[in-house]
């Protein structure tokens, strides 16, 4: 009996060690962010900062309009997430529950939108936005992403698992379609809604090529594009660059830790059955 306890402890210790190895780049980013700039050019390198230099995090703002970029990214992500839920829920509900002509065809069209790589759209989308006069505006950064085939697909898959009896009971109680959607389906779908919101958020927060192209002025850049400007502007001030990187990585990592337990279940649902 004793040997299994020892074995289990050893295996857990090994697992934690392995975990540290995998997250090492993240840890290295954070500790570099907290070193004074002289300390990163020493050989041999130090792991923990000898002098903790918290000032880097504040200094990021002086190297570029970092707060503005951060605000832009937050705003864009928030609008995109909201839009995807507001437009995606009714669409997914219609595909899951309503019977109408052309339903399967339209659903194929929605799935087909997933097959088109974003790079194909890059140039014509830019030209189109230019015609609308939207280049370098928040509209250009949000409106094209307010609907997403993946979200509609994921939500439809989830809605179909909800027992119809619940809705039938609501009908008997005199509920209309909108109220069924809002008061029966939506409350039961919180995990799927959270996972959809998470994927949209990550996609928006991390996008790089697209905002690089549709923004021109410094004040309209997003935080990821700002990171590349940072690199050239401040040369290779590694602690400063890593501070900016840490500040960008944090919201996504926190969102992930909050959503993680729902992620697996919903992923199994999204039809990873092949």
């Amino acid at each position: 009996m004793k040997s299994t306890v020892v074995l289990r402890t050893v295996s857990n210790v090994l697992k934690v060690f392995l975990a540290l190895v995998v997250v090492f780049p993240i840890l290295w980013m954070i500790v570099t962010a907290l070193k004074p700039s002289t300390e990163v050019v020493t050989w041999p390198p130090t792991f923990l900062p000898r002098h903790w230099h918290w000032g880097n995090l504040a200094e990021v703002e002086r190297a570029g309009p970092f707060l503005r970029w951060y605000f832009n990214s937050v705003l864009i992500a928030a609008i995109t997430v909201a839009g995807n839920l507001v437009f995606g829920v009714p669409a997914a509900f219609a595909f899951a529950r309503l019977k109408f002509r052309g339903r399967n065809l339209l659903f194929l069209v929605v799935l087909g939108s997933l097959m088109i790589p974003g790079e194909v759209l890059l140039i014509p989308l830019f030209v189109f936005l230019n015609k609308l006069g939207w280049v370098d505006t928040y509209q250009a950064l949000t409106v094209p992403f307010l609907a997403n085939g993946f979200v509609i697909f994921l939500l439809r898959q989830f809605f179909e698992t909800i027992p119809r009896e619940l809705e039938e009971a609501a009908v008997i109680d005199g509920c209309g379609l909108l109220r069924i959607m809002w008061h029966v389906v939506v409350p039961l779908s919180r995990p799927a809604l959270a996972v959809s919101a998470f994927f949209v958020f990550i996609g928006s927060w991390n996008s790089y090529l697209y905002p690089l192209i549709v923004t021109r002025s410094e004040s309209m850049r997003t935080v990821t594009v700002g990171l590349s400007l940072f690199k050239s502007e401040s040369g290779t001030n590694w602690p400063l660059l890593m501070s900016a990187a840490t500040l960008i990585a944090l919201p996504a990592m926190i969102a992930f830790l909050l959503i993680e337990r729902h992620l697996k279940d919903t992923m199994a649902l999204s039809g990873v059955r092949g």
């Binding site: 295996s11 697992k15 934690v16 392995l18 975990a19 995998v22 997250v23 780049p25 993240i26 290295w28 980013m29 990163v40 390198p45 507001v86 009714p90 669409a91 219609a94 309503l98 019977k99 109408f100 097959m115 088109i116 790589p117 974003g118 790079e119 194909v120 759209l121 890059l122 140039i123 014509p124 989308l125 030209v127 189109f128 409106v143 094209p144 307010l146 609907a147 085939g149 039938e168 009908v171 209309g176 379609l177 069924i180 991390n206 790089y208 090529l209 990821t224 990171l227 590349s228 690199k231 590694w238 890593m242 960008i248 992930f256 993680e260 992923m267 199994a268 990873v272 059955r273 092949g274």
Partner: protein
């Protein structure tokens, strides 16, 4: 018994999404296909119809062919490693002890770190002078490498961070597959005296076919769209050794203003991805075991 459905209801529910997808996905796609048949430079109001000229030029364009080869190299360097790591990681954590939870979070958290952040962090790790990786190599008695500055290792330098970021996501998919395997198969095999490895090879891996196949499709599609890492880590260099398809497309479209030509590249990219998905469905898909 169902609620009364008026004819206008489905339309109302679907209209916003369909209009958005139409305007910002399908219309630009058609537009790209049309522009690819012209010599438009993106600025002038008129352009000439050149038929398939752009497409024919692609196949003699050394830079484009090079970028295609580089992209394939990137796929070869990232995808098999990611899949093997994903399977290993999933097997390691499938039994949910406390250590496993920590490990699962550690494996999956890189996936949510944005690619630009991953890129600059790894540029720092791979730095030839003060990078921690070279220090590690120095400790075990190996020489310094200029990972991103040397054309023979630059693609590896881009592939490593991609694997690091990608395998945890694949692991989640594989894990969902492992959870779905009926435990009675393993119990029966164990009763017959099959060892862990034998059960892994004969039961677990074959039943994971659909999940691995899904990861493969996803991985190839993702790899052909790689851009940010290249832009932030090497800028396509040194000596074009990391110039990938989307980077070449970006340069042609937005630096040289060969817009028609860049659109032809985009259409080829779309066709290649479509064909790959189709081939995988037909060939790999038919050979994997479905429950």
């Amino acid at each position: 018994m169902t609620a009364r459905v008026y004819r206008w209801m489905p339309l109302l529910f679907l209209a916003p999404s369909l209009i958005l997808l139409g305007l910002f996905v399908f219309y630009p796609t058609v537009n790209a296909a049309w522009t690819s048949l012209t010599n438009w430079n993106g600025i002038s109001p008129s352009s000439d119809f050149t038929g398939l000229r752009n497409y024919l030029d692609l196949f003699t364009d050394g830079d484009f062919l090079r970028s295609l080869r580089n992209t394939c190299l990137y796929v070869v360097l990232t995808l098999p490693t990611s899949l093997v790591l994903a399977i290993g990681a999933a097997l390691l954590i499938q039994r949910g002890s406390a250590g496993s939870t920590v490990l699962r979070l550690a494996f999956t958290v890189p996936f949510v770190v944005s690619i630009p952040v991953v890129s600059v962090v790894w540029v720092w790790i791979l730095d030839p002078n003060f990078g921690i990786l070279n220090y590690g190599l120095h400790l075990v008695g190996l020489g310094r490498q200029d990972w991103l500055g040397n054309p023979s290792t630059s693609m590896l330098g881009i592939a490593i961070p991609s694997v690091w970021r990608q395998f945890g996501y694949f692991m989640l998919i594989v894990l969902a597959g492992i959870k779905g395997i009926d435990p009675s198969y393993h119990e029966a095999a164990a009763l017959d005296g099959a060892s862990y490895w034998r059960r892994l090879r004969r039961i677990t891996l074959p039943l994971l076919g659909p999940q691995l196949f899904f990861c493969l499709v996803l991985g190839v599609i993702d790899s052909f769209q790689v851009f940010s890492q290249v832009d932030l880590m090497t800028g396509g260099g040194p000596l074009n050794s990391t110039n990938v398809v989307v980077y070449e497309l970006y340069k042609q479209g937005f630096s040289y203003f060969h817009v028609g030509y860049a659109c032809a590249m985009a259409v080829v990219l779309m066709l290649v991805l479509g064909a790959l998905t189709y081939v995988q469905q037909r060939w790999v898909g038919s050979k994997v075991f479905y429950q």
